[in-house]
């Protein structure tokens, strides 16, 4: 089948560990040799001959402006995913002591307000090409939202698997698209194992299992967009959340690919990763100088990144080490404070994963691990309206008043004195 790929720029799959080649079907594991992960093989000369800054800028305002770098053959499912805002975050920068801080805000990605729309758009486009009629996933919430929504748009049958203790907004945000939802009594890693077994027996396209080589490539667009939005330049430092570690490694790959095909000048970019203390197997391994992951059982409010057995953890550690970055973990209290800080300084309401990223950003600045002059990009990957219970007890409540001027005036006085008290506390 690889010989017939006319418009596509990829030729097949290859084991990332041992290099063993495979045809471009629905498979994710080096089954013939070492069980390592499979990756898409591209013809970078073909890509170089087809793309330029001008062709990309003339493309659709979505991830599909980079379609030559994505593993599909025919027309994609384009639901407007991608090209989310890159915001210069001056107020947050001042609070943290940075000079050049940007927020890449995938909390407003389309259609389901997280970066997962990128990977699912690619995975379901490929699933359709490979002839799947039913698609599925093992999800911590955002992925289920995205798979269900884009499957609905594409007219694919959908059955998703989630841990049974997810936030209500994430469950509702899946059910509305009317897929079959399996709420598994267990943590994400148990859901994932079950799905690996279901994938073996049901002939479905699991976006993050047998379609994972295609799916994960979607995250590269978070790298491409930042380069383009910075005026075709690489940043100096990125900070991104780590769950499986896939997003982190694919942003790095995206940067490298744009260098490789001559779209941007090479320069060192430091990669730093963020985890929640209650689920920090990658941060623990990094701190101890290990190159292997010891799995943990998650216990954190940051459920969207609570993966205790992260598939790409070793690769994330390798990138952080090679680029001079860091991997750090923060407490649940710091995560909530991170959500509030981003909201109050930049008007962006992110979920717990984003709070983790901001809290780690703050920590790394305080530890001197981010230079104030570095052009730093923090990746915000999800929307706070999906996980309101995480912050409900930490934020204030409205002043309940009568529809009378007196009532308003007295409440306003109380508000002003509360405001002053807060400032005195902050110092």
């Amino acid at each position: 089948m690889t010989a017939t790929l006319s418009r596509s720029t990829f030729s097949g799959l290859r084991c990332k560990e041992c290099g063993h080649p495979y045809p471009a079907g629905a498979r994710h594991v080096c089954e013939d040799v070492c069980f390592g992960p499979l990756e898409v093989v591209y013809d970078y000369e073909a890509i170089r001959s087809r793309v330029s800054r001008a062709t990309i800028e003339a493309g659709p305002v979505s991830i599909w402006r980079y379609r030559e770098f994505l593993p599909i053959e025919a027309d994609p499912i384009d639901v407007g995913t991608g090209f989310t805002p890159l915001l210069r975050a001056n107020r947050l920068a001042r609070r943290l002591g940075l000079n050049n801080l940007y927020i890449k805000n995938d909390g407003v990605n389309m259609p389901t307000l997280s970066f997962k729309d990128r990977v699912v758009s690619v995975a379901l486009s490929r699933a359709r090409e490979l002839g799947f009629s039913t698609v599925s996933c093992a999800s911590t919430g955002n992925l289920a939202n995205s798979t269900a929504a884009i499957a609905a748009h594409a007219g694919l049958e959908c059955c998703v698997f989630i841990p049974s203790d997810l936030e209500l907004g994430k469950v509702l945000g899946t059910l509305i698209y009317n897929p079959t939802v399996m709420a598994v009594k267990g943590n994400y890693d148990q859901v994932n194992r079950l799905c690996s077994e279901v994938a073996n027996t049901h002939g479905w396209g699991f976006v993050n299992i047998n379609l994972r080589p295609y799916y994960s490539e979607g995250s590269k667009t978070l790298g491409y967009e930042v380069i383009e939005q910075l005026g075709w330049q690489l940043p100096d430092h990125v900070v991104a959340p780590l769950a499986s570690g896939s997003l982190f490694t694919k942003i790095h790959k995206g940067f490298q690919e744009f260098v490789k095909v001559g779209l941007v000048d090479e320069k060192p970019v430091r990669f730093s990763g963020a985890q929640a203390e209650g689920c920090s197997p990658i941060a623990q391994a990094f701190a101890e100088g290990r190159d292997f992951i010891t799995p943990v059982k998650p216990n954190t409010i940051a459920k969207s990144i609570a993966i205790g057995n992260p598939a790409d953890g070793p690769y994330a550690i390798d990138i952080a080490n090679r680029t001079g970055g860091s991997i750090a973990a923060v407490s649940d209290a710091e995560i909530i404070a991170g959500i509030q800080l981003l909201a109050e300084t930049e008007g962006i309401f992110t979920e717990t994963a984003g709070g983790t990223t901001i809290a780690v950003l703050k920590k790394l600045v305080e530890q001197g691990k981010i230079d104030p002059s570095e052009t730093t990009v923090a990746y915000i990957t999800g929307n706070g309206l999906k996980t309101t219970e995480a912050v409900a007890s930490a934020i204030g409540e409205p002043f309940l008043i009568e529809a009378q001027l007196d009532s308003f005036n007295s409440a306003w006085d109380r508000a002003q004195s509360l405001h002053r008290a807060t400032w005195e506390t902050v110092g």
Binding site: H28, D189, R193, S196, S244, G245, D312
Partner: protein, 91 residues
């Protein structure tokens, strides 16, 4: 000590297509030896030269990852179910 072992499709060529096999073993190490004895070549597929499980494979005893138990020294009891699952998934 009969335990049931769930074999992923990638390894079923070595088990004549069997997706589930019953074997006698007291530990994971014992089970790996029993698999090799029953299906020659099986051990070399799932372990490296030093006899350690390949890093991209996970083993579960009754759904618990053996890394939360005693790794390859994990004891097995009559009726236990062991699943062999490729690790590279999810996220």
């Amino acid at each position: 000590m009969a335990v049931q072992v769930l074999i992923p499709p990638a390894l079923q060529t070595l088990t004549s297509g069997e997706a589930s096999v019953s074997l006698e073993a007291n530990s994971i190490d014992g089970l790996l030896a029993a698999l090799e004895e029953r299906f020659p070549g099986f051990g070399g597929r799932i372990c490296d030269e030093s006899g350690k499980l390949r890093r991209f494979l996970n083993l579960y005893v009754n759904s618990e990852d053996i890394r939360f138990l005693d790794n390859q020294a994990t004891a097995l009891a009559d009726g236990d179910e062991v699943s062999i699952v490729p690790a590279v998934a999810g996220g």
